[in-house]
C-alpha cells in the first residue's frame, strides 16, 4: 500500500501506478549492437538494502513515467521525479 507522491498529481495510491523496474541501469543507445552492454542492462541487477531508484508510471493518472527513490527496508519513499527531467 505504497503512497507515491506524483510530481504533478500529488500523493496517490500505488494501485494507480505501474512498476517499471530498476531505474539505476543505463539503457544502451538504440543502435548499440553490443551484446554485453545489453546483457548488463537487461539482466544484471543489484539488490540493495536501503535506498533504491525504480521506475513507476502513473498509468491511471497523468501517465508520466517517474523515478521513485524507495527504501527497500522500510518502503518509505524519499523522492519522486519525472523520468524526463532526470534524462534532460
Amino acid at each position: 500500500m505504497l503512497r507515491i507522491d506524483c510530481p504533478c498529481c500529488g500523493v496517490r495510491d500505488h494501485s494507480e501506478f505501474r512498476y517499471g523496474g530498476d531505474a539505476t541501469v543505463e539503457r544502451p543507445a538504440h543502435d548499440n549492437p553490443d551484446l554485453d552492454a545489453w546483457y548488463r542492462y537487461v539482466y544484471l541487477r543489484a539488490n540493495p538494502k536501503g535506498l533504491h531508484r525504480e521506475y513507476w508510471q502513473h498509468v491511471l493518472g497523468c501517465r508520466q513515467w517517474l523515478v521513485v527513490e524507495r527504501d527497500t527496508v522500510t518502503h518509505s519513499i524519499h523522492s519522486v521525479s519525472f523520468s524526463r527531467r532526470q534524462r534532460a
Binding site: M1, R3, D13, R27, H30, P33, D34, Y39, S76, S83
Partner: protein
C-alpha cells in the same frame, strides 16, 4: 435466575428506557441499550457461556473487551449465522439470537468434555507429532474425532445475503482510541486546525474512562466539544485492524444497529484510511494471573469487573476474591465494596501502597499480602478459592474471582510495519519501539498507565500530529480530570510453576504444563512455542496470553524477557469479515466489464458471449449452430465460401504522431516502418529488450507524421505503457505523442470472397477495386457524423477489410453492413471461428507469442534481415537463441482417423518413450473444414528429423499421430487475400 438480580439500581452508561429482549441458547433474557451481550448475560446471572476449544471445559466471561478469549458465541441463524463473536464486544440489540459454542447436547452437559480426560493426548506438539512424525498414520485415525471435537463455532454454508462496503478515506490526523489520551489528542489536533478522524472500536466513546466512576463529566465535556467541531469526525464501532505503508490504516466498521432500516446499507464497512499522521491511543489490556483452574466461569480480569460495575451497572459477584500483583486491582475492590460486596484481596506482592491498604481495610476488605491463589473450586461457577501465603493455605468461599498481573499496552498497530516493541522493566510491559516521525503514541498504549499522563501525552501528541499536516494553531489546555489513580505494578508478576490446569491461553487451551513441555522438547523460541503449542493462534490472537507465555518461557530458559522477545504482530488486530474487504465488488461487479459499441446488437441477435480479459465478445452465433463446435465450423465455412463479419473493436488501437513518429516506429518494431508510404498498412512485430517477441499488429500510415497502430486485445495496455516508457526514459528527444484510441473506434472485419462486393455496396463512394485499394491499403471517409477508415487487411487469409468507424456510430455501421451484406450471404461470426481461421492460415497469436519465442522461432526471422537499431536486436542474436534444438513453429495435421489434436499436447518422435517434456508442444488447434481433419500449430525442435510426431496429452491419456507440415495450411501464395 431470569430476573436482573445482578443489575444495580442505577448508574452506568445504559439507556434504561430501552429494554431489549434477546435470546441465548434458546432462553429469553432482557437487557438495556448500552449493554453488550456479555454484560446483559452477567446481569441476568448467566456466568457459563461456552466450552473451550480442545478440552471443552466450561468457560465464562474473562474480559470486557476485544481481548476476550472465552465468551465466543454464534449469532444469528440461517444464512446470517456468524460464529466466534466475543460477547464482550457484541452490542446488545432487540431480537439478538446468540448461541454458545462447542457444546453438545447442551452447554451444561457436554459429551465431548470427556476430551478433558484425555488431555495429555492433546498437549502441546500434538499436531506436530501426529502430522510430521512416524506416527503420521495415527493422524488418519484421529483426524475424524479431533476435527469434530476441537474447534470453534461453525460458519453458515449459505451465500451471504448482506451488503458490505469497501472504501477509502482521508484525514490529516487519525486518532486510534477514544480514552483519555485519544480524546485529548483529537481535541488538540483539531484545535491546531487539522482534520481529525477519531476511531473507536466500541459503540461508546471513552475507553477505560467508562469504567471510572469519576470520569463521566469529563467524558461528556470532551465528547460534546469534539462533536461540535466541524473538522472532527468520529467513527464508533470501528476497529483499526492494520497499519500499512504510507500511514494507511485499515478500518472495519459495524453498522449502527439502532440507526433504523436503511435500504442497501452495508452491514460492515472496510475503510482504507490515509492519514498524514497517526496518534495511537490504543490503551492497554490487563493480563490474567496463571493459577490452577483460572479458567473457571466466574474468574475475571479485575479491569473487567470494574467495567461491568461502573459502565454496565452489573455487580457480577457479592463474595469476591481479588487476586493481584498490581495496585490497580485495589480500585476494583473499592468499587465492589462501595456496592456492598464482601472482598478478600490476595496480593502476590509482599508490600502494597500503604494508602491503598489502609483504604481497603477501612472499607472492610480482608487483605492478604504475599498470597497467591493455588486453586479454584467449582466447575460451572466459582464457589471458592484456595489461598497460599506465608502462614499456610486457607480456603475462601466466593462467587467471583478477579485477577490482575499487570498491563500489556496495545502495541499491535505500531508493530505491524515492523517496528518491534521494546520491553520496559519498570512497568513489566512491552511498549512501541521507535516510530516514524508521523506517528505518535499517547497514554497507556505507550506505557503511561495513569489518566493524568494520558491526558498530557494526548495533548502533546495531538499537537505534534497536527503539525505534521502543517496545522499549528494555538491549542488550549485539556479540561482537568480528577480521579483516583494508582501506580503501575511494583513487582514483576511471576507464575508459580508445577501447577496443573493453570491456563495461559484460554482460547487455545494452552497451560503452563504445555509451555514447559514445549521447552523440554526444544521448542524454545517464542515463534516455535507459538506454532508448537498453538498459543496465540486463536481468534483473539493471544491478546491476554502472549506476554504471560513469553515471560514463562524466558523464566524456563533463564533468559531475560527482552531476550525472549515477542512474536511478530501482523494484521488483523481483530477478525475481519472478508465480505467487507470485497465490499460491493462481488458477483456481477466482481470486476468491471468492457463492452464494444456493437455489444447490444450481439446479445439481441443470438450471440453466445465470452469473457476475454474484461471484454465481452461474441463466442459464436446461435444461428450458426446449437453448440460452439457446430457453430464455429459453419462460421469458418461462411468466411471461406461467402463472407462473414466480426466485431474487432477490442483490438488495442494507438494514435502515434509527431515529426519523429516514423523514426520511433522504426526502432519500436523489429521490421522497418520508416519506408512505409502514406495510406499503406504493414504487419509489424515488437520485441522485448531481451529479444523475445512482445506483440504483433498492423500499423497504418495515415499521414506523413501520423500512424494508426493496432495491438493484440490482450497486450493493448502493455504496449502503450511500453511506448511511453521508451519515450519518457530512453528517447525523450523524439517528438512523438502516443495515445490510446481503443475506445474511439468501433472495429469490424468483413472477410471472405464476397467482401469486396459487400463493401462496394455498403460504401458506394469508395473505390474497392484492387487497384484503388490493394491488400494493405487504406481508404477513408465518413459514416453518419463519424470518421471512417477502411484498411484492407486479412487475418483469415481471405480477401478482407477492417472497417473502423467512430464508436458512437459503431452499431449503426454494423447494422448497415449486415443489411447491405445480407444479399451476398453476409453473416456474423465469433471469436472461436476467428481463432480457427487464423490457424488454417498459420498466423501466430497469443499461444505462440507466449513470452518465450523469438522471431526466428516463429519463422519471421527474415523480416529483420539487414535491419539494425530496433528494440531487442542485440539480445535476439545471442547464442542460445540460435541453438539447433530451438523449438520453431510448425504445422501439425492429425493423421489418426477419427481422432483429434489438443492444445498443450507434448510432441515426441515415434517410438520414443513418452516421458519428460518431449521435443515440442502443440500451441493451437482447430478442426479444419477445408482439410476435414484436426490441424494445429506447434513449436517443435528445429533439429527434429522426420515428418511425423506423436502428440501426447497425458491429462486425458490421449496419444495421437500427427504429420509435420508447413504452418500455412491454406493458400500459401496468398491468392485469396490479394485476389
Amino acid at each position: 435466575m431470569t430476573s436482573t438480580e445482578k443489575r444495580l439500581a442505577s448508574g452506568g452508561y445504559l439507556d434504561r428506557s430501552q429494554v431489549l429482549k434477546f435470546m441465548c441458547d434458546g432462553r429469553q433474557y432482557t437487557g438495556f441499550k448500552g449493554d453488550t451481550l456479555a454484560s446483559a448475560l452477567l446481569a441476568s446471572g448467566v456466568s457459563l457461556v461456552g466450552r473451550s476449544f480442545k478440552y471443552h471445559r466450561p468457560r465464562g466471561i474473562l474480559s470486557a473487551g476485544a481481548e476476550e478469549p472465552n465468551a465466543l458465541v454464534t449469532v444469528g441463524t440461517g444464512a446470517r449465522r456468524e460464529p466466534n463473536l466475543p460477547a464482550t464486544m457484541l452490542e446488545l440489540t432487540s431480537g439478538l439470537e446468540a448461541a454458545s459454542q462447542n457444546n453438545w447436547p447442551s452447554l451444561r452437559f457436554d459429551v465431548q468434555s470427556i476430551n478433558s480426560l484425555f488431555s495429555p493426548l492433546l498437549s502441546s506438539g500434538f499436531y506436530y507429532k501426529t502430522f510430521m512424525g512416524p506416527s503420521r498414520r495415527a493422524w488418519m485415525f484421529y483426524e475424524h474425532f479431533i476435527r469434530k471435537a476441537a474447534g470453534l463455532g461453525k460458519a453458515t454454508m449459505m451465500p451471504d445475503p448482506d451488503v458490505y462496503d469497501s472504501r477509502d478515506d482521508f484525514t490529516d490526523v487519525a486518532v486510534v482510541g477514544s480514552g483519555a489520551a485519544g480524546l485529548s489528542a483529537a481535541r488538540a489536533a483539531a484545535q491546531a486546525g487539522a482534520r481529525v478522524l477519531l476511531i473507536e472500536q466500541d459503540f461508546e466513546i471513552g475507553g477505560r474512562l467508562l469504567s471510572e466512576p469519576g470520569g463521566a463529566t469529563w467524558l461528556h465535556t470532551m465528547r460534546t466539544e469534539l462533536e461540535e467541531m466541524a473538522n472532527v469526525r468520529i467513527m464508533r464501532r470501528t476497529t483499526a485492524f492494520g497499519l500499512y505503508d504510507g500511514n494507511t490504516l485499515a478500518l472495519i466498521e459495524d453498522a449502527d444497529p439502532f440507526a433504523g432500516l436503511v435500504m442497501n446499507a452495508a452491514r460492515k464497512t472496510c475503510t482504507l484510511l490515509h492519514a498524514r499522521s497517526i496518534v495511537f491511543a490504543t490503551g492497554a489490556i490487563e493480563r490474567p494471573m496463571v493459577f490452577p483452574n483460572n479458567d473457571r466461569p466466574g474468574v475475571m480480569l479485575n479491569s473487567a469487573i470494574r467495567a461491568y460495575v461502573n459502565r454496565y451497572s452489573v455487580l457480577p459477584g457479592r463474595n469476591v476474591v481479588i487476586a493481584t500483583a498490581d495496585d490497580s486491582a485495589y480500585l476494583t475492590a473499592f468499587d465492589l465494596l462501595a456496592h456492598g460486596a464482601r472482598v478478600v484481596i490476595a496480593d502476590a506482592r509482599p508490600l502494597a501502597e500503604p494508602t491503598l491498604l489502609a483504604k481497603a481495610k477501612q472499607m472492610g476488605a480482608e487483605v492478604h499480602l504475599a498470597t497467591n491463589v493455588t486453586d479454584v473450586k467449582g466447575k460451572y461457577a466459582v464457589t471458592g478459592v484456595v489461598l497460599a501465603g506465608k502462614t499456610g493455605t486457607i480456603g475462601v468461599s466466593c462467587d467471583l474471582v478477579g485477577m490482575s498481573a499487570g498491563w500489556s499496552p496495545v502495541v499491535h498497530l505500531t508493530s505491524h510495519q515492523g517496528v518491534k516493541p521494546v520491553y520496559r522493566a519498570d512497568i513489566d510491559a512491552f511498549v512501541p519501539g521507535q516510530l516514524p516521525e508521523t506517528q505518535f503514541v499517547a497514554g497507556a498504549a505507550g506505557g503511561s498507565l495513569s489518566v493524568s499522563e494520558a491526558i498530557a501525552e494526548g495533548v502533546s501528541a495531538g499537537r505534534a500530529a497536527a503539525a505534521v499536516a502543517g496545522k499549528v494553531e494555538r491549542v488550549a489546555e485539556a479540561p482537568v480530570l480528577e480521579i483516583e489513580e494508582t501506580a503501575g505494578p511494583t513487582t514483576v508478576y511471576k507464575p508459580i510453576f508445577g501447577q496443573r490446569k493453570a491456563f495461559v491461553d484460554f482460547q487455545m487451551d494452552v497451560t503452563l504444563d504445555d509451555i514447559q513441555l514445549a521447552q523440554r522438547e526444544g521448542y524454545e523460541s517464542v515463534e516455535h512455542l507459538k506454532r508448537y503449542t498453538t498459543l496465540g493462534m486463536g481468534t483473539d490472537q493471544g491478546k491476554t496470553s502472549n506476554i504471560n507465555a513469553l515471560k514463562v518461557m524466558a523464566k524456563l530458559r533463564g533468559i531475560s524477557i527482552p531476550e525472549a522477545g515477542t512474536t511478530t504482530f501482523r494484521p488483523p488486530y481483530t477478525p475481519v469479515a472478508i465480505g467487507a474487504v470485497a465490499g460491493r465488488a462481488t458477483g456481477h461487479h466482481f470486476r468491471p466489464y468492457r463492452l464494444t459499441p456493437i455489444h447490444d446488437w450481439h446479445t439481441a441477435n443470438g450471440a453466445q458471449m465470452l469473457e476475454v480479459g474484461l471484454w465481452m465478445r461474441p463466442w459464436f452465433f446461435e444461428a450458426s449452430g446449437r453448440d460452439v463446435n457446430t457453430a464455429y465450423v459453419n462460421e469458418m465455412r461462411l468466411v471461406r465460401s461467402t463472407a462473414g463479419i466480426m466485431d474487432i473493436s477490442t483490438l488495442g488501437k494507438i494514435d502515434i504522431q509527431g515529426p519523429d513518429a516514423a523514426a520511433f516506429l522504426d526502432r519500436v518494431y523489429a521490421n522497418g516502418f520508416a519506408s512505409i508510404k502514406v495510406g499503406r498498412a504493414r504487419y509489424g512485430v515488437m520485441l522485448r529488450d531481451d529479444g523475445i517477441v512482445f506483440d504483433d499488429g498492423t500499423t497504418t500510415r495515415l499521414e506523413q507524421n501520423r500512424f494508426f497502430m493496432t495491438t493484440s486485445t490482450a497486450k493493448a495496455a502493455d504496449v502503450l505503457s511500453w511506448l511511453e516508457f521508451l519515450l519518457d526514459t530512453a528517447w525523450p528527444d523524439l517528438r512523438v505523442s502516443v495515445s490510446s484510441v481503443s475506445d474511439e473506434w468501433a472495429g469490424m472485419s468483413v472477410a471472405g470472397p464476397e467482401s469486396g462486393k459487400i463493401l462496394s455496396a455498403a460504401f458506394p463512394d469508395i473505390d474497392f477495386s484492387n487497384e484503388a485499394l490493394p491488400h494493405m491499403g487504406l481508404a477513408g471517409g465518413t459514416f453518419n457524423d463519424s470518421p471512417l477508415k477502411i484498411i484492407r487487411l486479412s487475418y483469415s487469409g481471405e480477401r478482407a477489410y477492417e472497417i473502423y468507424v467512430g464508436a458512437s456510430n459503431g452499431e449503426a455501421a454494423w447494422r448497415h453492413l449486415i443489411d447491405v451484406g445480407a444479399a451476398y450471404g453476409l453473416k456474423p461470426y465469433g471469436v472461436e471461428a476467428l481463432g480457427a481461421l487464423r490457424i488454417e492460415k498459420g498466423h501466430v497469436a497469443g499461444p505462440e507469442i507466449d513470452g518465450r519465442t523469438t522471431l526466428s522461432d516463429l519463422r519471421m526471422g527474415r523480416m529483420v534481415a539487414k535491419r539494425s537499431g530496433y528494440v531487442g536486436e542485440a539480445l535476439s542474436h545471442r547464442e542460445a537463441f540460435q541453438a539447433a534444438n530451438r523449438q520453431r513453429l510448425v504445422g501439425l495435421k492429425c493423421i489418426d482417423p477419427g481422432k483429434r489434436l489438443r492444445g498443450g499436447a507434448l510432441l515426441f518422435a515415434p517410438g520414443e518413450p513418452l516421458q519428460g517434456h518431449g521435443r515440442g508442444r502443440m500451441t493451437s488447434i482447430t478442426y479444419s473444414p477445408e482439410l476435414d481433419c484436426y490441424i494445429g500449430l506447434g513449436l517443435l525442435a528445429a533439429d527434429f528429423k522426420g515428418d511425423e510426431v506423436i502428440a501426447s496429452y497425458p491429462m486425458k491419456n490421449e496419444v495421437v499421430r500427427a504429420r509435420v507440415v508447413s504452418p500455412v495450411f491454406l493458400d500459401p501464395a496468398g491468392e485469396r487475400m490479394h485476389g
